[in-house]
Assembly symmetry: none
């Protein structure tokens, strides 16, 4: 990577970081492009060299962050040993929940879009994301269910987890995440 390339990447990253920080702390609606570039320390025009508009950078951030959470979760899961698939999956889900609980601002931003990462760009780019899919498929290796069906179940479990996290952690509705977690786990156990 040439020096110029490096510099470009650096500018893009600083815009990215600035936007993430402002979106999470001030809210999307209250963050203007001018705020982002000021915080990033670059010129206003520079923003448009890297992103189309506010929602372009926002989408990229959400995608990136959700993918990151999922890939971290699978990485940690893969490093452990489990007696069975159920334990493995629940460890994976628990990792996600605990991560989001610790980073409420990120959870607020990705809202209920946590399953997105799997089905979009990330699926293609990140090696780790393949693994979650593989893990899930392996867990069902003895069943007669089709690969497609199993994929959809994974999708639903992730949607459910994302939704429950948002409700329980951000809104604390109907109850906080600590009370919700056992029910969620039991439900997932039933699903698989």
């Amino acid at each position: 990577m040439s020096k110029i390339e490096k510099n470009k990447k650096q500018k893009e990253n600083s815009l990215y970081d600035a936007a993430y920080h402002l979106f999470t702390t001030k809210g999307i609606h209250n963050t203007a492009i001018s705020d982002i570039v000021k915080k990033a320390g670059v010129g206003k025009g520079t923003f448009y060299l890297y992103f189309k508009n506010k929602y372009d950078i926002l989408d990229k951030i959400i995608l990136d962050k959700s993918t990151y959470v999922l890939s971290e979760a699978i990485k940690q899961t893969k490093e452990k040993e489990f007696n069975n698939f159920e334990d493995e999956l629940l460890y994976f889900i628990d990792y996600i929940i605990e991560y989001l609980r610790k980073d409420r601002l990120m959870l607020k931003l990705i809202h209920k879009n946590l399953s997105w990462g799997i089905f979009k760009k990330a699926y293609k780019d990140y090696e780790e994301i393949h693994e979650i899919y593989s893990m899930f498929q392996s867990g069902y290796k003895n069943s007669s269910l089709s690969r497609d069906y199993i994929g959809k179940v994974l999708f639903m479990i992730l949607e459910l987890t994302g939704s429950v996290c948002y409700s329980s952690i951000i809104l604390e509705e109907p109850v906080g995440i600590d009370e919700m977690k056992p029910v969620l786990f039991q439900t997932i156990r039933k699903i698989i």
Copy 2:
């Protein structure tokens, strides 16, 4: 209700209807207050007599419409006879799905907000909403599970349904609702 009271209610309703129509067709972001009042046929200041700002009327619309969907679903369900609780619940869920499929614009508006928050608020105001809860509790009458636990399961089923509807119907991700529905139904069957 006096003539003046009637007139007020009429004004509020026309604003409400105009806003709903514009939000669903043009999008929230692209709808200005001036559009709403023009369509409603009232003065601009009148809007502020009834609503604080665009998001105030939006919230009211989302709450209202979501409540309506749920209450319609329970009403229709109660009118039918079922052999067992599972069939009853799935009919209820199916009614919601089909309703949202037919009214994609409304689904887009209520996004993934068809859930507990709404449910809880609606619970206080609408008699019908009590029934869904009763129905669900009755279905579990022979189980040893606590009422609380059962309530949380209902919450999760609603969250899951809402999330899946939005993804499948609006984004068609990972697949359309027709392909998704059997998997969702099977999943709900396992949950209960």
Copy 3:
């Protein structure tokens, strides 16, 4: 005064008091007619039965309050005995200063308008105001100066007092009123 007349006067007074309170605490610019009527507990239309607009009631308030200060000052002065005119005038001036110091909000409102404009209008309406003029003229009874000339000097002393009070009490520029007062008194002594 009939009961109806009394009621009218009462409404006018409550508007007057509400406006005075809001003008002094929130500022003229930030006070709307709707604020005034809300505080006064009357209908919006009622305001226009008694006043032309915001500046109409403001002018009346300023006139009224400034007149009150001056008339109070002369009343108190007349009740005392003095060895000479100089002492009498300085007592009068001091009374004004101390009054304004205690009611900074009123001083802020009447700004630097404590002077001839007010004085002149008040002259016609309030018996007490005649007395200050008389007092001042008497003080000069042995001089060869014309009545007109003496009137102008009184005007200047009042202008100077008003200006100094505003600067010293409100802005504390160049110094506070305590430091300023001896200089002002010495200056007035030289003038007369």
Copy 4:
């Protein structure tokens, strides 16, 4: 100064001039930002690049114009020769009066703000302003009065002059400036 810097200064100046002209002819209250930018021939956003709001530009104009009057007065005074301090001071005051009489619109704008607040601010920025202070202090060099006391007397003379100018020239109360001037001069003579 680069071309771009020059252009910026030009824009600011045209806004400044436009605002001054509109404030003096139409009044502050009746001048909208849109009027200013239209007259200045710049975009609306440009205004907010240079000024916070209407009162920001107004304050700057008042400060600037008042400073200009004072600095002009001292410049002219310094160019003349005088037999004594009294003549010098009265020439200085007279210059101010005549200037304001010729430019009534400016006088109306700066109202009764021609005084210490302005003086103090200007003191830092304008070399000429130092001179008026020096002149005044020199006039008292043989007196036993403290520098502080003398400064306060200067302050009062300026306040008095400003107040009298506004009343006599703008309101013509209690009489016009021609009739008032001899009394003012005589009063100042007595003060010093």
